[in-house]
């Protein structure tokens, strides 16, 4: 997947996790927590969805990497570079 495709995947997951939030103007360099109604259980939802869709295991010490869209895409890029988008 390209970074653009990864961003689409994360956006799709966020749409499921935060269905009441408007994601059209999400700022990639701002923490999710500062612009969406999200808590720690929601972050675990992101981890679980990535595990279910792409079978990637994200260790707990890497969770801070999922703070914003920018950092998430950067973190996932090497993990998903050989994986097709589903």
């Amino acid at each position: 997947m390209t970074p653009v495709e990864i961003r689409d995947v994360v956006l799709n997951i966020l749409d499921e996790i935060a269905p009441d939030d408007d994601l059209t103007d999400i700022k990639d360099d701002v923490a999710f927590r500062d612009q969406l109604e999200m808590d720690s259980m929601d972050f675990l939802d992101i981890v679980m969805e990535l595990r279910k869709r792409y079978r990637i295991q994200i260790p707990e010490e890497d969770y801070p990497q999922l703070a914003s869209m920018e950092s998430t895409v950067t973190y996932l890029e090497p993990l998903l570079k050989d994986t097709a988008k589903v």
Partner: protein
């Protein structure tokens, strides 16, 4: 060989076993006769929030019951397949965000809906209410089965690898979940918990709320029961294996308590929560009062896991009547528990005949014939179905009663057509459950 070493210091005190000695009846709060209760010892209903398979508020529920309209429909659930059930259609986004509906449980959503509706109906100034003085007491027959079945179904797709098991499982399945979701949604910081009481849970929730008001634990109790049971295949499969699941070509005729052709229970979901207050508080704010809880009782068969015991049921009803300071023939309407099973209906009728002895005043009806058995909500919902009789002077009938089983004969059984009943003053609501739990609640017109 001497006694085992408990590690405890021997105090030298020795106790001789003696029978329990009951306190004098008039020293117990539960036994203070109604006329001697102070305004602070009188508990009244000031608001009703509900969803049933045939209505989503009290006036609509009453209208459906007087019109004989069933809410039972065809239903299908994974693994089990086709059956019939009572399914609710309340707007679960009226008081919850989509995120909260997704994160929580069906029982939680039912509770949030009913809780909001009850508070609104009570007319209490909610914005200025001290939420730390509000208590939530929600009866449940079971909780967690739906969510556990869902998770097992989900991880089947991952070859039962538990690393795919949801982190939402525990907050969804803790036994206090439905009450906790109400607290979260309404910002209530007083006590919240559920009362597990099988199918007597709706009454048990009401009783618990009343007791907490009497103890001064809260000033407003949100109390009653909820059920999400139609979303667990296990309850259908278990009743089927027990030979106690209703079947009928026409779903609206499947729930038929007391009828010769009854063949079991129709499982339903639903909820009914009341706002309960001490009469002194309700009068102070000039609240509308639906009725006063003047008597209640809970007892136990201690004879069987599932089979009811008419003698214990009769004792329970008699105790509630005694605590209300009444004679049996002063009860105007008995809202029966009967679920449509072969033996359960017969046992309840035997108990009722013993207590009410064919008196000419008391009428009997059954609300499950319209909505099925809404489990944890049943006691509270069935009481709600009858509450308006104080106003309209009508006893709604038991429907689908084409041919009464002789073993279920009751002199005042109201069948298929509503019956006028002038000056309804007392309604008694029965609710019984597995493991032999029996409950009865008596509401008085105020």
């Amino acid at each position: 060989m001497g006694p085992p070493d408990t590690g405890l210091r021997d105090t030298g005190l020795r106790y001789t076993a003696r029978p329990l000695e009951a306190a004098k009846d008039d020293q117990l709060i539960a036994n203070v006769s109604p006329e001697q209760r102070s305004p602070e010892q009188r508990i009244v209903i000031t608001g009703v929030g509900m969803t049933a398979p045939n209505a989503n508020d009290l006036p609509a529920f009453r209208e459906a019951l007087l019109a004989g309209r069933s809410g039972v429909q065809s239903y299908e659930i994974r693994y089990f397949g086709k059956t019939v059930a009572g399914v609710c259609s309340f707007d679960h986004h009226r008081y919850q965000k989509r995120r909260d509906v997704k994160r929580g449980t069906r029982a939680g959503s039912v509770g949030v809906y009913c809780g909001h509706e009850a508070v609104q109906d009570s007319g209490v100034d909610w914005e200025n209410t001290d939420r730390s003085r509000v208590g939530i007491y929600v009866g449940v027959t079971e909780h967690g089965n739906v969510e556990t079945e869902n998770e097992i179904h989900e991880i089947k797709a991952y070859d039962y690898d538990t690393s795919f098991w949801s982190h939402h499982h525990n907050p969804r399945t803790v036994a206090n979940n439905p009450a906790g979701e109400i607290a979260l949604n309404l910002g209530i910081t007083g006590p919240h918990y559920t009362i597990g009481a099988a199918c007597a849970a709706g009454n048990a929730g009401i009783i618990q709320g009343a007791q907490m008001l009497l103890l001064g634990d809260c000033d407003l109790a949100i109390a009653g029961g909820v059920s999400e049971s139609i979303h667990t295949f296990g309850i259908f499969a278990s009743f089927k294996s027990q030979g106690a699941l209703a079947e009928h070509d026409d779903p609206t005729q499947a729930s038929r308590p007391f009828d010769k052709d009854r063949n079991g229970i129709v499982v339903a979901e639903g909820g009914c929560l009341y706002t309960l207050e001490r009469f002194a508080d309700a009068a102070h704010r000039r609240a509308k009062v639906y009725g006063e809880l003047v008597g209640y009782a809970i007892n136990t068969d201690a004879t069987d896991f599932v089979l009811p015991n008419a003698e214990r049921q009769a004792e329970c009803v008699e105790l509630a009547i005694k605590r209300a300071g009444l004679a049996a023939d002063q009860i105007d309407i008995v809202s029966t528990h009967a679920t449509g099973t072969t033996s359960g209906d017969v046992q309840e009728c035997a108990a009722l005949r013993k207590v009410f002895q064919d008196n000419s005043n008391t009428l009997f009806n059954n609300t499950k014939s319209y909505i099925g058995h809404s489990m944890g909500a049943a006691g509270a919902l069935e009481m709600a179905g009858n509450l308006m009789a104080f106003e309209d002077g009508i006893c709604h009938p038991t429907i689908n009663l084409e041919s009464v089983d002789p073993a279920c004969e009751l002199a005042g059984l109201v069948a298929n057509e509503p019956r006028e009943k002038k000056d309804v003053s007392y309604i008694l609501n029965n609710s019984f459950g597995m493991l032999g739990i029996n409950s009865a609640v008596i509401i008085k017109k105020v």
